[in-house]
Each structure stands twice: as structure tokens, then as C-alpha cells.
């Protein structure tokens, strides 16, 4: 009756959700077995093999089986380290780090600094995105400048910032080296392109005629932006902000060069404290305390980032802004 079962799967009579749950359960069990037996390598082969079998059962065409098999190799490269990273943590060490006030400060700064950078990117990036969406003479030069940080190595970005705004650069009264200002500047430098490009795509997807309709019936440019353009682009703008925030959280190179440790106002304690940006702190812990300790801190950083990311995703998938129709 093997063919009968197969046909059921292909016609979807089994339903999608049960298939996904069953597949995930099998993967989890296989990973646990491989990890417990001390040979995670076996699990890597199992993933590739099981994906190929699943692709054959669900679709059967050689093309899909081939594509799924090749894709599963990439998934192993991305997912297996993450799974082993989580599995190999020592819960005691994580709890110890989670209760450490130094780590609290790092995590606080690791969320707070990128938040400032993301807000700065949006504040100055959204108006630019609006202009780029309309187009103007010399636009390509501006676009290239906005995208430049995407291709500049990040340590180089840090050096560039020090040349521009450090000693002997512009705004001598504002010090950037080892300050909060410098850290936010370095983060904005690398994350602003994400905010600008996401907002710009959102603006470009809005029909010109909606803005025409707003203006011809009496709304000024500002009123049109507030009542029509911005509400319709809000999801893209928020996405841009989240991308910029996430990029800033993960920034190491530019921040390590410009602001290795910074002093900032720590709200829970109600006073100014010194700390390092989380990725810098993780690297520092790795150098001084080894893989185990840095892994525990990295785990906490990863968990906090994931929770915030999921919260923002949940909030922005809310349909209230568009009446549940867009």
C-alpha cells in the first residue's frame, strides 16, 4: 500500500500542517539521537537524505528532488551550527551569566544603542527615501552613496568615521572615539541603507494617483504625507527600522574601532555606567574566557534579539493600520 500513502500525500489529503509537524518531530528526534550518541555528523547526512526523501514523496519530480537536496546542504551549513550551539550550552553557565549585572548592562546597551541608531536612520532616512522614490537629478549618485556602507568592510567603516568625525575631522566639539555618540554614528553608518531602501520600496509601491487624489481634494503635501503616504508605507518603514536595528545589533567591526567601550545612562540603575556593545563583549569574553563563557553570553544575546524580533514582527503584522484588507 506504499503507493496509496504516497498518493495521499501528493494530493494533499493529509494536510500541510501535520506533514510539517511530523517532519519537524522526526528531525528533532534524529538530532537528539545523533547528539546523544556523540556523532552530529550523522545528523548532517540525515538532513540531506531526509529532505530528498520528503521532496520525492511530496512532489516526485527529479527537478524538485535535486533542488531540495542541494538546498538542504546550505541549510545544514546554516542550521547545524546553530542547533549545536544551543545544544552544547551549559545551563548553569547561562544562568550565571544571566544573573551577572555586567551582562545586564551589555544586553541593555546591545538593545538600546541599536534602537537609537535605527531611530536616527529612520528620522533622516525616511525623508530621503521619499525623495528617492520620486526621483531627482543626480539621484544615482545619492543612491550609490546610500548603498556604499553595504560594500565597505565594517572595520574600514569605523576608520572612515574616525577620519570624518574624529580628531582633526568635522565637528571637533563632538567627540566620537569611545563615546555613545560615536557608537550610534558607527551603527547608523552601517544600518541606514537598510532603513532607506526598505522605506523607499514602500513609497515606490504607492500609486501616484493616491497622492494626486489627496492633493486635488485639498490636502497639502505635508497633509498628504501624513494621511495617505505614511500610513500606506508604514509597514515598509517599520520593516526598514527593524532591519536597521538588527544590523546595528550585529555590528562588530565599526563599533569596535570607533567605540570599544562607552559610557551611557543605564536606566535600571539610574546612573551612567560603562559597557561594551554586545558583539564586542562576546568577542572579548571569547579572548579572555574561552568558548564556553562567550557562548553563554552569545546565547543570551541571541535570545534577546530573537524575542525582540518576534515581538516587532507580531506588532507589525497587526492588520489595524490598513483595516485588515491590505
Amino acid at each position: 500500500m506504499a503507493t496509496g500513502t504516497e498518493t495521499d500525500v501528493r494530493t494533499g489529503r493529509l494536510g500541510r500542517a501535520p506533514i510539517v509537524v511530523a517532519f519537524a518531530a522526526v528531525q528533532l528526534a534524529a538530532f537528539a539521537a545523533a547528539y546523544a550518541s556523540g556523532s552530529p555528523t550523522l545528523y548532517a547526512y540525515f538532513v540531506v537524505g531526509s529532505v530528498a526523501v520528503a521532496a520525492y514523496a511530496l512532489d516526485g519530480s527529479a527537478f524538485v528532488v535535486g533542488a531540495a537536496t542541494l538546498g538542504s546542504v546550505l541549510l545544514v551549513a546554516l542550521g547545524l551550527p546553530l542547533a549545536l550551539f544551543v545544544a552544547r550550552q551549559q545551563p548553569g553557565l547561562i544562568v550565571q551569566k544571566a544573573l551577572n549585572p555586567d551582562v545586564h548592562r551589555v544586553l541593555y546597551l546591545g538593545v538600546y544603542g541599536p534602537l537609537l541608531a535605527a531611530l536616527a536612520s529612520l528620522l533622516f532616512g525616511v525623508p530621503l527615501a521619499r525623495l528617492l522614490a520620486d526621483g531627482f537629478p543626480g539621484q544615482q549618485v545619492i543612491e550609490s552613496l546610500v548603498d556604499l556602507p553595504l560594500v565597505v568592510p565594517h572595520s574600514v567603516a569605523g576608520i572612515i568615521i574616525l577620519f570624518g568625525f574624529g580628531q582633526g575631522g568635522a565637528f571637533p566639539s563632538v567627540s566620537v572615539l569611545g563615546t555613545m555618540t560615536g557608537m550610534v554614528l558607527a551603527m547608523s553608518f552601517v544600518s541606514a541603507p537598510y532603513a532607506v531602501n526598505a522605506a523607499r520600496e514602500a513609497f515606490e509601491s504607492i500609486d501616484d494617483r493616491l497622492e494626486y487624489a489627496s492633493r486635488i481634494h485639498g490636502a497639502s503635501r505635508f497633509q498628504t504625507f501624513r494621511r495617505v503616504t505614511a500610513p500606506l508605507a508604514v509597514r515598509g518603514i517599520v520593516t526598514g527600522g527593524v532591519l536597521a536595528w538588527a544590523r546595528a545589533v550585529s555590528e562588530f567591526g565599526a563599533v569596535a574601532v570607533v567605540a570599544y567601550t562607552v559610557e551611557f545612562f543605564y536606566l535600571p540603575a539610574g546612573e551612567s555606567v560603562r559597557a561594551q556593545h554586545a558583539p564586542v563583549f562576546v568577542y572579548n569574553t571569547y579572548l579572555t574566557g574561552g568558548l564556553e563563557e562567550s557562548g553563554a553570553v552569545a546565547f543570551l544575546l541571541l535570545a534577546v534579539s530573537a524575542v525582540i524580533f518576534l515581538i516587532v514582527r507580531y506588532l507589525t503584522s497587526d492588520t489595524a493600520t490598513t483595516g485588515g484588507v491590505v
Partner: protein, 342 residues
């Protein structure tokens, strides 16, 4: 006095030649002017230029007062867009009321929605509405600001035929006492809505006049063809009309052409039925005129190939079958002659 626009505007797009709209339109107060033209003739661009969305040279004035230099929001217009352009994130009521906060003298949007028969949709969002419903909401949004001039861009183009007919009647009533510029490529709509028609082609107005004048006395073969006239080689009508030597092309509306009994006596043309197509209330008959009609002194080969000697006409019932020989009468006073074929 009313709306007057004499504008020149140049539009460029990547990979295309610049398109120039160079047009003059005058609309008396309370009058509906229909700008009729094929796709790509620049009708929409003209309308958007009058509305103030595009840079232009020349003058747009209302009751003698220049409007150029004013932003769109300060011109006091209302606009109904082809694809409605309703705000998807606002309810029907919020859409209809959109402009009322900016104009002191405005109408109650709820009353308007009720008048247009869509009051029951108040709390719905545009993406959930049908085309006809969207169009009524768009109309309410424009009328709510008590526009000095209504600009309408193909407001019926995207609707199915029954909805279009129903809305066309409502629209004609609404526009009765409103100064309006109405852009369309549909000659039936144009004739139903217009006090006057301006025919547009390649960015320019090629004829302006009453619907009667434009439909019955087209200024060029292009206007004749676009308004639905038969456009044929003038030589083909030599038997019934006094054709001057320089006349190349002739136009006659299908409703003036009639089938007659007999095959060629008494000054009528003869031909063979090429097609018979049932349209709403009548049959559209296409007749290939005889190229060797002894009275047609054929000076060019144009008629001989058949294509330029083809007349359409309507019969109510009992249509002749394709291939049948028929006589055709063309009243000479209904024929318009053109010197050049364009």
C-alpha cells in the same frame, strides 16, 4: 466664463521619445466638455496638467483668474480617477469625507453617499468593494468638496457594461449643472455625457464642437473613424455624391446608410454582403461595394482591393446573409468629403 486652459507640457520617459501635450480647451460654466481620443493621445496627461500635477507652459484660468502657479490643492477642483484611486486604508465614509476638512464650503459626505446609493457601505474598505461601488465612492469624494470644476478620467472604463450604463445615466445627471472636463475613449459615453466634445490626437485637440457637429461633420478622416463613421475612398461614392477632383476620402455614419431593394437602379450603389454581426438592438451589416460599378469612375486602385470600399450599416431585422447581393443608398447630404487621406 468658465475654465480655460491653453497649455504645453512635455513628458519624458526612459526609452521613449518625449511626448508633448499642446492643447487648448474652453469649458463654459455648467458645461460638460468631453475630451475624446484613442489610448495614448494624451487625454489623461492633459487632465492632470490642468489639475496642476505637471509642470507646463501656458495658462490655466477659471472665470478669468489664472490658476497656474497654484498647487493642486488650491485650485478648487474635484477629480475622479480611472482606477478610482480610493485610499485603501480609509473607510468609505472617510474616503468620501477626505477633502471636507480642507474646504469650508463642502457637502455632507453621508448625504452624497446616500444619494449615490452606497450609504450601506459606510464602514467598508475600498478593496472589498466592486468596481461600480468604488466609482460611486470616488464620485462622492470629488463632489463632497463642491468642486468649481470636476475632472473625470475614464471613470467608466473599467466597469462591466450594465454597471457602466447605469452609472453613465447617474453621472449625466450629476454633471448636469457642474462644470466638468471628462476624458474618455468611448464615443457612446462621450455622446451621452457631453455638451461639447474635443477630439484629441497625439497631444493636440483636432476638433471641438457639439456632439452633433463632431459626429456628423468630422473635421478629418481620423475624427470620422474614431467617432464611428464609415471612412472610405471618395471614388467609391462617385455615383451618389458630387465628388470634387481633390477629394480622396469620404465619411458617412452607418446609421445614415440603408439597404434598398433592387440591384443598382435609381442612383443607388450595389455590393455584396461581407459580414453580418448581431449587435445589441440591430444587425451590423458590412457591404463590399462593387468596384466595377459603371458609374464609379475609378481613378485610383484604392477601391479595387475592396478594403476602402466597405460600408457598415444597421438593419433592425431580417438581415441579408453574407454573399448576398444588395443595393445601398447613401444620402448625399450626410457625406463628408476630405481632400487628403491623412
Amino acid at each position: 466664463m468658465g475654465l480655460s486652459a491653453d497649455v504645453t507640457a512635455t513628458f519624458t520617459a526612459d526609452g521613449a521619445d518625449a511626448f508633448v501635450v499642446d492643447a487648448t480647451v474652453e469649458v463654459e460654466r455648467g458645461e460638460s466638455l468631453v475630451v475624446l481620443g484613442p489610448s495614448g493621445s494624451g487625454k489623461t496627461l492633459l487632465l492632470e496638467t490642468v489639475a496642476g500635477f505637471h509642470d507646463h507652459e501656458g495658462v490655466v484660468s477659471l472665470d478669468g483668474e489664472a490658476l497656474n502657479g497654484l498647487d493642486p490643492e488650491d485650485r478648487g477642483f474635484g477629480f475622479v480617477f480611472q482606477d478610482y484611486a480610493l485610499f485603501p486604508h480609509l473607510t468609505v465614509t472617510e474616503n468620501a469625507a477626505y477633502g471636507t476638512r480642507y474646504r469650508d464650503d463642502h457637502r455632507d459626505p453621508d448625504d452624497l453617499l446616500a444619494e449615490l446609493g452606497v450609504a450601506d457601505l459606510c464602514d467598508r474598505y475600498p478593496p472589498t468593494l466592486s468596481g461600480g461601488e468604488k466609482q460611486r465612492v470616488a464620485l462622492a469624494r470629488a463632489l463632497a468638496v463642491r468642486p468649481k470644476v470636476m475632472l473625470l478620467d475614464e471613470p467608466l472604463a473599467a466597469l462591466d457594461v450594465p454597471t457602466r450604463q447605469a452609472l453613465r445615466d447617474d453621472l449625466a445627471a450629476v454633471l448636469d449643472d457642474v462644470t466638468a472636463v471628462y476624458v474618455t475613449h468611448n464615443r457612446t459615453t462621450a455622446r451621452a455625457v457631453a455638451d461639447r466634445i474635443a477630439v484629441m490626437r497625439d497631444g493636440q485637440i483636432v476638433q471641438t464642437g457639439t456632439p452633433e457637429a463632431v459626429f456628423e461633420r468630422p473635421a478629418s478622416p481620423m475624427v470620422a473613424a474614431f467617432t464611428g463613421s464609415n471612412v472610405i475612398a471618395a471614388d467609391a461614392l462617385r455615383g451618389v455624391v458630387d465628388v470634387p477632383a481633390d477629394a480622396m476620402t469620404a465619411a458617412v455614419r452607418p446609421e445614415h446608410v440603408a439597404l434598398v431593394d433592387g440591384t443598382g437602379d435609381g442612383g443607388d450603389l450595389t455590393g455584396e454582403v461581407a459580414r453580418s454581426v448581431r449587435e445589441d438592438a440591430a444587425h451590423r451589416i458590412t457591404v463590399d461595394l462593387d468596384a466595377d460599378d459603371p458609374r464609379a469612375e475609378l481613378s485610383t486602385g484604392a477601391v479595387a482591393d475592396g478594403g476602402d470600399a466597405r460600408l457598415s450599416l444597421f438593419v433592425a431585422d431580417d438581415p441579408p446573409a453574407p454573399g448576398e447581393r444588395v443595393g445601398v443608398s447613401v444620402p448625399p447630404e450626410r457625406v463628408t468629403l476630405f481632400a487628403a487621406a491623412e
